[in-house]
């Protein structure tokens, strides 16, 4: 079966086209639907297999990144809950990650009660750069199948990407519960808090998280920007037969429904 992807667009979302493209390359059917059509009932979240929140500046990142979008999504809480309960997949990239954490889907499926926040980069500004990530050994998620321990290269582009929790214990819990999906690594391959390898200063290099079921993935860097060969910053030096790192993530999601 070709899974159906629902890409929700609204004011300020701007990575929807390339994210949809990456899903298509991976073998999914991508549908872009404006939030207004979900709010007025014309379309339903539960008619799709994968829910995709792409990057951008929803509502200008006003008040706080992801905040206004997540407030509007609260109106669709019942549909969201039944979508998640069915074991469907969800991804939030960059602004989408900010939305999913602000909404409370990631990490603990506590919709309306956020537990993790993405706060301003240490540098106090937007940064666009290629970063190296590692996938922790203990994480289990359909999105990251067979990727444990692997190193991947993806572009990050954000101003608010530093993971924060209310307490240090809560931060530790993210590791204890195996919710950490990606960590920034330095050129030697070690998890890093050092700028610029870690562009935002996230403690212990957290770059992405999953929810408690593993079905929802949120990440700051943009896998859709490394899902075709020409996008790789050193494509002239890389083996033409390697699959782009970002594409693997989208393919994993598609294969989950096969």
């Amino acid at each position: 079966m070709k899974p159906k992807v629902l890409t929700i667009i609204t004011d300020g979302i701007n990575c929807n086209a390339e994210t949809g493209r990456a899903f298509e390359l991976a073998g999914a059917v991508n549908k872009e639907v404006h939030l207004n059509l979900l709010l007025d009932g014309t379309k339903k979240i539960t008619d799709y297999n994968i829910l995709s929140f792409s990057g951008g500046f929803s509502y200008g990142d006003d008040v706080k990144s992801g905040k206004i979008f997540s407030l509007k999504l609260l109106k669709l809480k019942d549909d969201l809950v039944s979508f998640l309960e069915k074991g469907n997949l969800t991804i939030g990239i960059c602004n989408g990650f900010q939305v999913l954490t602000t909404l409370g889907v990631i990490p603990y499926n506590t919709i309306g009660e956020p537990q993790v926040s993405l706060y301003w980069n240490d540098s106090a500004r937007f940064e666009c750069r290629w970063v190296d990530l590692t996938v922790p050994e203990n994480i289990r998620s359909p999105w990251l199948k067979d990727m444990n321990g692997k190193k991947i290269k993806i572009q990050a582009a954000h101003a608010e990407g530093r993971i924060l929790t209310r307490t240090d214990d809560e931060y530790e819990k993210l590791f204890e519960k195996s919710l950490v999906a990606f960590q920034y690594v330095d050129p030697s391959g070690k998890v890093t808090e050092e700028y610029p390898y870690n562009p935002n200063g996230s403690k212990k290099g957290i770059a992405g998280l999953v929810d408690v079921t593993g079905n929802a993935l949120g990440m700051m860097p943009h896998p859709e920007r490394n899902s075709e060969k020409f996008q790789h910053p050193n494509f002239r030096d890389t083996d033409p037969d390697t699959e782009p790192d970002g594409l693997t993530i989208f393919k994993n999601a598609v294969n989950y429904f096969r």
């Binding site: 990575c15 390339e18 990057g55 666009c128």
Partner: protein
């Protein structure tokens, strides 16, 4: 009223990186050693009871994890000093609008929302220190103000002014000019032409009419200098626009779809999925607003040029944004900053933040640009913003309006923003400008623009539009004036949704409020528009309709306020005659240097750390250059993605391998020596940029931008020479210029001084190549590869070079090349990139060939060994149409050397060092890590 304004203050519960950043700026650049500063964000909401404020704070305004809030109270009340800053009433604050919309969505009735920031200082600062911090770091008095107490009323309303009748028929010359000054910016000849028109009509003029004429005839919209008759040194010459047209005719490039007739130029690009696509290109300046408010100016400049692309034909999709800045010395002393002007460092950081915040939020990659520093750009910076779009060829041309077609306006509401922007930008700046013309400055709202663009593209694909255009300079006046030019138009100003009540008729008509576009559509399409606009949260209304009267007729509240003949409006402007006089350049001296006294290593380090050469990575990183997923080569390249690319490469269509290559060239200081050769240099730089990356010399399309000091006779002669130079080069190389814009007012005048900028000719180039795989990047790829210098060094002069600048000299001779040689070089480059012989390439530019090679080495983390004979010129001359290339093997290198156009100067090495020999021995042997540091460090300090 103040009773129902609730103040909600929010602070981070964790350490605030913005406090760190701003404190650093204050310590570093204002030399005030503050130790402890806190920032509090305040939201004022009017028209809600106090008990609702807490709910709004916890549900909407404050993050439960990272922030704390207080209602009608104060954090840090123990701090002895504070400054609270907000936007002035009426200045667009997108965030306040978002909050207001969210409150409406939550059915919370309210009257207004305002946001302010309070900066608390634990240090006991003097009043003078606080004022310095306020005026030079925290606030821009053009658009912001200090709040000394809680505001009483946040709603804005103005006293409406009735439309005035101007007794223009009876005015004396002096009265005519008084009426024009600081408002219409027309000259006496033009004012008298208008006077005669009304004498013939036998009535006085409505103010709306005069404003409309002034806007249409402004230099900004009317390009009067370019259309003018030219008398050069006593002989009559073709007008500049005439020269451009002749050039186009001579070239007649088959891929040009439209040129100089629409909001941007369009050329054929590639086919994908059975649809033929074109690329739209445009660049324009936004100098005056950026000089007054760099952030808002660069923002609205970017927003404007993106709308130009979006409003090409029946609508195009933006795929790229570029920016070029010519600025004063960012390290200049505060005491030397001219009255009415901002410090160049503030302009530098402000314009970057403006481009960043607009482009990034729009989701349009900013991937090409440059900086040029010269002290004389201090008071009048050049801020050039450009954009590219992609459009199916079938939508690339506008249709003709017919009687009854509606003019539908999309997007934002109309306020008093930017009144007189079009006319003001054509005027020279004086000390007075900053206080008299504050209406010219505004802030942009990219989210409004983004949703409008998405909505318009969907409507375009439903084939709704006859024509689509943007509201730029001149607002509705220019948009409707252009679309209804051939038919006539009737407009109802009372249909316009206003940001606040009280705008007079002419203000509604010429307001330059951002994020608005106008389409001409057949009446029956209105229902489709309604549906799609509702989906995208985009406002729209019917502004008026096309007629067959050939008149521009405007009503406001049922009253006639304008009744002008379209013909007079568009063709009535008296043709100017410009008298231009060539004067030999005085005060120039040839540069002097003694080879034996040069420390080549020091020269290398100095030149690579020069502000015009050094790495711009701290800026590039702030721009999203990867969004849309189209980037083949971004502004940085190489192993660690830290070498400069020069240009950039995009693959804009998902199902086509065709690539679009970007480059541009300018070197203002050369135009002070020799505007003809300086212009050719800029042309070659743009061409070489795109050819170095693999562009096909036969498929290159150009934009020209002239940013000139005020047109004196000598300046005009210089300007004419640049037009001639461009025309000759374009004809010779067969490269059409399909878009362009001029700005001829970059002179600053105060009581004591007049400062002219070094004249800017910026040539932007776009090249097409069919396969992105057949491009190259500049970073060195291997060790042991032959390094060639390609080009002709027989006229490798040093005039205007960084080498001379380092010695405090300018020089008299601009480096040049014979056109035929350049053409041969370009062919050679293209063929050898296509056949894979060239592994990496970069064109010689500011700093010279050694700098070019060093930058390639930084990208590839390889070193080099080279041998040079004519040391200074080979290493440091900025020769046009010259390239440094890395060849795949000796055999292919020898082949190129045999052509006589190339010499092998050395080889790449695995050791990361730069080694240069002359015939006597080593003259440079330095670790490239050191050179890399010299290159990377200078720009970082402005962005800590």
């Amino acid at each position: 009223m103040s009773a129902n304004i609730q103040k909600i203050s929010v602070i981070p519960a964790v350490s605030d990186p913005k406090e760190k950043h701003i404190s650093h700026q204050i310590r570093e650049f204002l030399n005030i050693k503050i130790k402890d500063m806190k920032i509090v964000k305040n939201f004022y909401v009017q028209g809600i009871p106090a008990e609702d404020a807490g709910r709004i704070a916890s549900e909407i305004l404050a993050c439960p994890i990272t922030e704390k809030y207080i209602v009608n109270g104060e954090f840090y009340s123990e701090y002895p000093k504070k400054i609270e800053i907000s936007f002035q009433p009426g200045v667009m604050n997108p965030e306040a609008e978002t909050i207001s919309e969210e409150l409406k969505d939550k059915k919370i009735a309210h009257e207004a929302v305002m946001i302010s920031y309070t900066y608390y200082f634990k240090d006991d600062l003097s009043a003078a220190q606080l004022e310095t911090i306020r005026d030079r770091s925290l606030m821009n008095a053009q658009i912001q103000m200090q709040l000394l107490k809680k505001p009483d009323d946040l709603t804005v309303s103005l006293k409406p002014r009735k439309t005035e009748m101007i007794p223009i028929r009876t005015m004396t010359d002096r009265e005519l000019m008084e009426a024009s000054d600081y408002k219409l910016f027309l000259n006496l000849k033009e004012m008298k032409t208008i006077q005669n028109y009304y004498k013939k009509l036998g009535r006085d003029a409505y103010d709306v009419e005069l404003e409309t004429i002034a806007q249409t005839w402004s230099e900004h919209c009317g390009h009067k200098t370019f259309k003018a008759k030219v008398i050069l040194d006593g002989a009559e010459k073709r007008s500049i626009i005439g020269l451009v047209k002749d050039t186009e005719k001579a070239i007649a490039h088959p891929d040009v779809v439209s040129k100089f007739e629409d909001n941007s130029g369009v050329f054929r690009f590639a086919e994908a999925d059975g649809v033929e696509y074109g690329i739209c290109i445009k660049a324009e300046t936004h100098n005056s607003p950026s000089g007054l408010d760099p952030y808002g100016g660069a923002m609205t400049g970017t927003g404007g040029v993106l709308r130009d692309i979006a409003g090409t034909g029946k609508g195009a999709k933006n795929i790229s944004s570029i920016d070029v800045f010519c600025l004063g010395d960012p390290d200049m002393k505060q005491e030397e900053v001219f009255p009415g002007c901002l410090h160049p460092r503030r302009i530098l950081t402000g314009v970057i933040e403006g481009v960043r915040d607009y482009g990034n939020r729009m989701g349009i990659p900013t991937n090409n640009g440059s900086f040029h520093f010269h002290k004389d750009f201090g008071p009048k910076p050049t801020v050039l913003v450009g954009a590219d779009g992609i459009i199916p060829i079938k939508y690339a041309k506008k249709g003709k309006c017919g009687k009854g077609d509606l003019f539908v306006s999309f997007g934002g509401k109309t306020g008093k923003d930017g009144i007189h922007g079009a006319t003001f930008s054509s005027a020279e700046m004086t000390e007075k400008t900053s206080s008299l013309n504050s209406g010219a400055v505004q802030i942009g709202n990219p989210i409004e623009e983004k949703r409008m663009f998405d909505c318009l593209l969907e409507l375009r694909d439903m084939d709704v539009f006859t024509a689509l255009t943007d509201c730029g300079a001149g607002g509705y006046s220019s948009a409707v004036g252009e679309m209804g030019e051939k038919t006539g138009a009737v407009v109802h100003l009372d249909n316009i949704p206003l940001k606040y009540p009280g705008l007079s008729s002419f203000e509604k008509w010429i307001s330059e409020s951002q994020e608005r576009m106008v389409a001409a559509v057949p009446k029956e399409k209105l229902d489709m528009i309604k549906k799609v606009c509702a989906k995208y949260n985009v406002g729209f209304f019917v502004l008026g309709e096309a007629t067959n009267t050939k008149k521009l007729t405007i009503y406001d509240g049922g009253e006639l306020v304008c009744d002008l003949d379209m013909e007079f409006l568009h063709d009535g402007q008296p043709l100017e005659t410009i008298t231009a006089t060539t004067k030999p350049k005085t005060g120039l001296e040839d540069g002097e240097y003694y080879e034996e006294e040069i420390n080549y290593t020091e020269a290398f380090k100095d030149i690579i750390s020069h502000l015009n050469v050094c790495s711009k990575e701290p800026v590039i990183r702030q721009y999203d250059h990867g969004v849309q997923g189209t980037c083949v080569e971004g502004p940085l390249c190489g192993k660690k993605n830290d070498g400069p690319t020069g240009g950039c490469i995009l693959k804009p269509l998902k199902n086509s391998d065709a690539a679009l290559i970007f480059g541009h060239g300018l070197n203002p200081v050369l135009n002070r020596i020799d505007p003809y050769k300086g212009t050719l240099w800029a042309y070659y730089e743009a061409m070489s940029n795109v050819i170095a990356l693999g562009g096909d010399p036969k498929r290159i399309f150009l934009i020209e931008n002239h940013i000139w000091p005020k047109p004196t006779e000598t300046n005009l002669a210089d300007l004419y020479q640049t037009a001639v130079a461009l025309s000759e080069a374009c004809k010779f190389f067969g490269t059409p210029i399909i878009s362009g814009k001029d700005s001829l007012s970059s002179t600053y005048k105060s009581k004591d001084v007049t400062i002219e900028i070094p004249p800017v000719v910026c040539v932007s180039a776009r090249a097409v190549t069919d396969d992105w795989r057949k491009t190259v990047s500049p970073d060195l790829k291997r060790s042991g590869s032959p390094i060639l210098l390609i080009g002709d060094y027989s006229a490798a002069h040093l005039g205007g070079s960084i080498f001379f600048d380092r010695l405090g000299q300018l020089g008299t001779r601009v480096p040049e090349i014979k056109m035929q040689t350049a053409k041969d070089v370009y062919e050679l480059m293209y063929n050898n990139i296509q056949n894979g012989s060239i592994l990496s390439a970069s064109d010689v530019s500011e700093g010279g060939a050694l700098i070019t090679l060093a930058e390639m080495a930084i990208g590839g983390k390889k070193g080099f060994n080279i041998h040079v004979n004519d040391k200074v010129k080979t290493l440091f001359a900025e020769v046009p149409a010259a390239f440094v290339v890395e060849m795949k093997d000796l055999e292919s290198a020898e082949e190129l050397v045999e052509t006589g156009l190339a010499v092998q100067i050395g080889t790449t090495t695995s050791k990361y060092s730069a080694v240069v020999y002359d015939f006597k021995g080593k003259i440079i042997d330095i670790d490239m890590v050191q050179i890399e540091n010299c290159w990377k460090t200078p720009f970082t300090k402005y962005f800590k």
